[in-house]
């Protein structure tokens, strides 16, 4: 697989972009899927077979193998985390996101005191892993503000990860020095021409800068780097193919970093764009299974974008981390006055509280893990 290892993932991406993946996916046969299922170490072609339409007839054996691998490498545990949205000021105009600057809404940025209150509220549930999120605004939420946020959060949590706009390696290193251990950054779509259409204005237009951000974060000594595509924007099979390739690239180049992926699906939001490609439950399942079989140690996170029933069913198939008790609006946990006119980045489909989520996990035979890190290690 190291034949894909290039200086930057963008080079790998360019080399792969020319191939007709649609044709390759359509050409994969049931026999290819069965062969992939027999292998211990899967090749990229095996991964492609597992994402193909032909594999849809093999979801059960794929699920059996995925569950066995997940149990072996991650045990009967699910790590829980919560997001904290600190600012929804945004200079971008992503067609699929409610934080888009085109949505003329009142914006909000939390003061450090408010963040402290939100953090105390979340930490009160026992959660020790927090994910800090902001919209992209160098003016309202610059790196200095993020550093201040981390200094507040570190008083409450064992692990602080970020999901913010792409930064330089130097800025990532600065945040790592403050104790940030994880980076989540979704490419949204790996189709560069569609990416340009979906991001008509703002700094996010730079496809390559975003694509290379995970490797900058890894180079800056982040512990965990999570990638993903927002499914529903383009053909999901090709997107997951690229997510798998990207994850594999990062694993090859940064063996000490834990690489993770997510399969977020487009949710209703304040805006009109609903995505052009439908992604059914069956497709999400196939995506998770293919990723698990291709990359057995890949962390796979599942957010509250999906409803409780579907989330529960996905747990044994390869999920390792779940957000819970989430609020996706700024100040949503403890600032009720603000919450009334606040708007969420996406609609939450699973609104169970942390204790409810923990009880459900235990019922399903899983240990909800609230702490799995030592701050500042």
């Amino acid at each position: 697989m190291t034949e894909f290892l290039s200086k930057s993932f963008y080079d790998t991406y360019l080399a792969c972009r020319e191939r007709d993946w649609g044709e390759a996916l359509a050409a994969a046969s049931g026999a290819d899927v069965e062969q992939a299922l027999r292998r211990v170490h899967l090749s990229f072609s095996d991964f492609l077979a597992l994402l193909s339409p032909a594999a849809e007839a093999h979801l059960e054996p794929m699920a059996q193998k995925a569950r066995a691998l997940t149990l072996r490498y991650f045990g009967r545990t699910i790590q829980l985390y919560a997001p904290i949205y600190v600012s929804d000021y945004c200079e971008n105009s992503c067609l699929y996101c409610s934080f888009s600057s085109r949505n003329r809404r009142k914006r909000k940025k939390l003061s450090l005191e408010e963040i402290d209150r939100e953090a105390a509220f979340i930490a009160g549930t026992g959660l020790q892993h927090i994910l800090l999120l902001t919209g992209e605004s160098k003016k309202e939420s610059p790196v200095g503000y993020l550093r201040d946020c981390v200094q507040v959060l570190r008083r409450h949590f064992s692990s602080v990860a970020i999901e913010v706009y792409p930064l330089s390696e130097e800025d990532y290193a600065g945040l790592v020095a403050e104790g940030v251990d994880g980076l989540t950054l979704y490419q949204e779509t790996y189709d560069e021409s569609l990416y340009r259409v979906l991001h008509p204005a703002g700094p996010k237009r730079n496809f390559r800068y975003r694509l290379e951000a995970p490797e900058r974060g890894a180079a800056a000594r982040m512990r965990q780097v999570n990638i993903g595509a927002l499914l529903g924007l383009a053909d999901w099979r090709r997107e997951i193919l690229m997510v798998g390739l990207h994850a594999r690239y990062l694993q090859d180049r940064f063996p000490e970093v834990e690489i993770g992926a997510s399969v977020p699906r487009l949710r209703p939001f304040a805006g009109a764009f609903q995505g052009s490609c439908e992604v059914g439950d069956r497709n999400i399942v196939q995506a998770i299974l293919a990723l698990r079989l291709f990359l057995p140690r890949l962390g796979i996170a599942l957010s509250t974008r999906e409803d409780s029933c579907f989330r529960d069913s996905l747990i044994p198939l390869g999920i390792t981390r779940m957000s819970a008790g989430s609020c996706t609006s700024v100040g949503g946990y403890t600032v009720p006055d603000e919450a009334e006119d606040a708007f969420a980045q996406f609609e939450i489909a699973d609104s169970r509280s942390i204790p409810e989520m923990m009880a459900r996990l235990r019922e399903k035979g899983y240990d909800p893990v609230l702490k799995d890190w030592i701050f500042g290690l």
Binding site: R72, G75, R76, P255, L370
Partner: protein
């Protein structure tokens, strides 16, 4: 005569060391430790809750067990040393399983960094158990600098593939003066038994027990297998016929001569 393993100033009856990760819950983990009559258990410091209000994994460890904190999460010697010091400061004791892993795909240990951490921690008075890829020179250096035992892997963590490193582990058993404890990759009680028959001082198991359909009974099965293997080793293993006996003896003609 009692067959106790003397290590780190303690006398240990159960030569099955157990891990505490990957279980469906702390209560189940505790039951498994009790079923195996485990004397030594390893706990990742990263999983230990520090707040007074939080339920701690350590509360579920039977008081008869010695806790060996492992340095899971350390990517280099400095981080392993930091975790060990934090463990000591938090009252978790001096027994440290040194785990330095800079490879997230196979979780194979970095022997050089592990050695460096061992040297530092021994000087600071820790009882150290370095987890390593079986390598004679490294194991010698670890023993020479004062490791309480050396823990070579049987196969990569979580793979349940058994003692794939058998040839190398056998060399360590013959050549290294400190106890050899096979850690990682043991998937079945028979794998553990095999290690004990070979002459390992103990074995360490986590995944196979924690994710078994019935972890408690499987812990008991492992414990029995370790006892059986140890007993067989002490009794002396009979030589085995390396090859099947030929049905027509090659020297049969000598009889015809007579």
């Amino acid at each position: 005569m009692e067959d106790l393993l003397e290590i780190g100033g303690k006398k240990i009856a159960c030569r099955l060391f157990l891990g505490t990760g990957k279980y469906a819950g702390n209560a189940q983990m505790r039951e498994a430790l009790l079923a195996a009559q485990a004397d030594v258990v390893t706990v990742a410091l990263r999983r230990v809750e520090s707040g007074a209000m939080a339920e701690s994994i350590l509360d579920y460890i039977p008081p008869s067990c010695t806790v060996m904190i492992n340095t899971s999460g350390a990517r280099n010697a400095a981080e392993a040393v930091r975790i060990a010091r934090l463990a000591r400061a938090s009252g978790a004791g001096d027994w440290i399983k040194i785990e330095v892993i800079a490879d997230s795909r196979y979780l194979l240990p970095d022997n050089l960094e592990t050695l460096k951490a061992t040297e530092t921690l021994v000087k600071e008075g820790f009882i150290t158990f370095p987890y390593m890829s079986p390598d004679l020179s490294m194991a010698r250096r670890m023993a020479d600098c004062g490791a309480a035992a050396v823990m070579p892997l049987g196969s990569p963590i979580g793979t349940n593939r058994g003692v794939r490193t058998r040839e190398l582990v056998e060399i360590l058993i013959r050549e290294i003066s400190v106890p050899i404890i096979v850690d990682a990759g043991l998937g079945k009680p028979s794998d553990a038994c095999q290690c004990m028959e070979m002459g390992c001082a103990a074995v360490m198991v986590n995944t196979a027990v924690a994710v078994a359909p019935d972890p408690v009974e499987f812990a008991r099965a492992f414990s029995l297998a370790v006892k059986a293997g140890r007993l067989a080793y002490r009794t002396g293993m009979p030589g085995s016929a390396a090859e099947a006996r030929a049905s027509s003896p090659l020297t049969g003609f000598l009889r015809d001569h007579d």
